[in-house]
Assembly symmetry: C2
Homo-oligomer: 392 residues x 2
């Protein structure tokens, strides 16, 4: 994985501050996600082979579903079981999905153990599949001693705990992601390995670019209050949603923000590029490019009458086309003097996905520490919850 | 459909300017989309009943796919044929989708008739399904005399033309949307009717709120350069993408912009609300709420041990829950003094969808005219195309 910066910046003091801030978080074990590559090892032996099921359901919202969905979409193939994410209390969405599911293994995931959307959908699912105490088809993932954890005990269900010091949006490498992925037939050992490698390389000062980017973003958040992620693959669609939550909830507080915006290339060149090229600027832009899609697919060398102007791609691969589109867009935007960086991934292996996840989590921590905000809380969402409660 | 504004604003001169600007566009017939409710009538008789097919493929990108996909996702049910959108030159996405398709009716859609992504994917599809001249399974939608139009003649294929004065992102009510929807089993007569009704009501000065919103947005684009759409239903996922293209490509130019951001409630309360509540402001926020989902789905009255705190929604419908979440979030954000408006839709009927589409298109035109930009072009995307061409 390569991290290229297309902007000049140097501020040794701020860069070192970023480094030592997160080193402190890591070493003090105050913040748990850094340690998930080790603490999640114990879940790798989880065995669902004595349960008969055809689909995997994840009931969860936000940090309890986005990361798992992101990884699933990048990795799924003919051998993985279908996964369904019941994440919104939208009646048609719930009905549509339930109608497609026959014999599921069900994960109910909520860190707090009392998320109203999750528990409401769970009740519907209990009803729909006639679930009972002791069910082997029902698993709980939550914090120790949460209401959901206590419920699980009373129903005698298997529970997988999330470490207390791992926030929801930083929890994809905990049981939250690891266990449902295993159930879908994805063995996430290399996901943890990749995350560990990136973390260790970083603390061994081999990934200094992260400190530079964090320092640049934090120092310039008023000039560049928006970060646009332009990911060149449809497979990264949920990954960009995960990124939006990670940045948005972590870095929008105390009157400061770096607002994340996710787009997919080349599709969104046809929707968002115009505004980037000729609008008001104020954005940093990050590209993600996948070098190899592991699926060589060639644009056939067919010459169609009157369409000769498109023949320049004949015989080339779609991989080459989408990646050259990425490069061309980057060059066009560089001409507009945006601070741009690019993450180049060799292929979408679990190891590389693990690296990418740890990179983004540590980047978020580093930026948050330099903005002098609490990266890990989300006090702003409480008011809406109180208002909601009073409406019933 | 109701349009509620939760901000005070009055500027008679600007509001009237908005009204007369788009009235002029409409009456001069300079801009074509206003007239699609009439000019698209002729497609309603299109009959595919003599063709045997199981799926519908749309090969198109941006304005050639987003609107159709948005409507399809809102309307599809057990009776509609599966639609596949081949919109990205992503090899794994193309392979995945093609592997699920057996006997399709195929629409190749490109306004310019030379979109490189679309024609490249088309070549792959020709190869994959062994398509030949005269094929009844292959239909073309493009501008008259475009390269793709000429190709269609040479292959003796059915062609449906897009009016020259209808831009890609304003084309969903042209053949671009109407014909593939018909093929999928969705009869879009009421879509056109709803669009016509909104347009006529507007020009009869019964929808003056649009002028007010346009004037407010245009006058305050520096103070509020971002518009966040918070749509409360998973079914509006592609609609928000359509909105992002419509606003983004139309209103991002000449150093001005109103940047569109799309979010889905209640999911994104768990990802983006924190930043809205405690970040830097600078945003207008629009809610879309659907009064009736036509699928009453009740949260079962199940009391689970230790989860009693969630029982306040027992026996209520998911519809009520998601809509009260919408209201609660709106109220919480109003406390932060955002300029907020809300679009309340009775139900997702084709007629209401037609209204919503025409509303957003006319709103875009009105804002663009007040910003004194050319709402309908996209000069900024050309540089990237030139750079791309030179990479091969």
């Amino acid at each position: 994985m390569k991290f290229e910066h297309y902007f000049d910046y140097e501020n040794n003091i701020k860069e070192k501050e970023a480094y030592f801030n997160i080193l402190q978080e890591y070493e003090s074990k105050e913040i748990g996600y850094y340690h998930l590559p080790e603490t999640s090892q114990r879940f790798l032996n989880t065995d669902f082979s004595d349960i008969e099921y055809e689909e995997v359901i994840v009931i969860g919202i936000g940090g309890s579903s986005l990361g798992t969905k992101a990884i699933y979409e990048m990795i799924k193939d003919e051998t993985t079981k279908p996964m369904f994410f019941l994440e919104n209390p939208d009646p048609r969405d719930i009905k549509d999905k339930l109608s497609k599911i026959k014999n599921p293994l069900i994960f109910v995931i909520s860190k707090s153990g009392k998320t109203i959307e999750t528990i409401s959908i769970f009740k519907k699912v209990i009803n729909h599949f006639n679930l009972k105490p002791n069910s082997s088809h029902l698993k709980i993932i939550t914090d120790e001693n949460s209401p959901l954890d206590k419920f699980a005990s009373s129903w005698n269900l298997d529970v997988f705990h999330i470490p207390k010091n791992v926030g929801g949006r930083f929890s994809v490498l905990s049981a939250v992601g690891i266990v449902p992925l295993l159930a879908a037939g994805i063995y996430p050992k290399n996901l943890l390995l990749g995350a560990k490698e990136f973390r260790d390389d970083f603390f061994n000062k081999k990934e200094w670019h992260l400190c530079k980017k964090a320092a640049f973003y934090a120092e310039n958040y008023k000039k560049y209050p928006i970060n646009v992620l332009f990911a060149y693959s449809t497979l990264l669609n949920s990954f960009k949603e995960w990124f939006v939550q990670l940045f948005g909830e972590s870095l929008g507080k105390d009157g400061k923000e770096i607002m994340p915006v996710g787009h997919i290339g080349s599709i969104d060149q046809h929707s968002f590029l115009q505004l980037l090229m000729e609008g008001m600027g104020r954005k940093t832009i990050t590209f993600i490019k996948i070098n190899s899609f592991e699926t060589p697919l060639i644009i056939p060398d067919i010459k169609l009458p009157h369409l000769e102007a498109t023949d320049f791609v004949n015989g080339r691969s779609f991989e080459e086309l989408i990646n050259k589109e990425c490069e061309a867009t980057r060059e066009a935007l560089l001409a507009k003097e945006y601070p741009i960086d690019e993450i180049v991934i060799d292929d979408l292996s679990l190891k590389n996905i693990g690296k990418l996840i740890m990179y983004y989590e540590m980047l978020t921590s580093a930026i948050g520490s330099l903005l002098e905000i609490n990266t890990y809380n989300q006090p702003g969402v409480e008011l809406g919850k109180t208002i909601l409660r009073n409406k019933f």
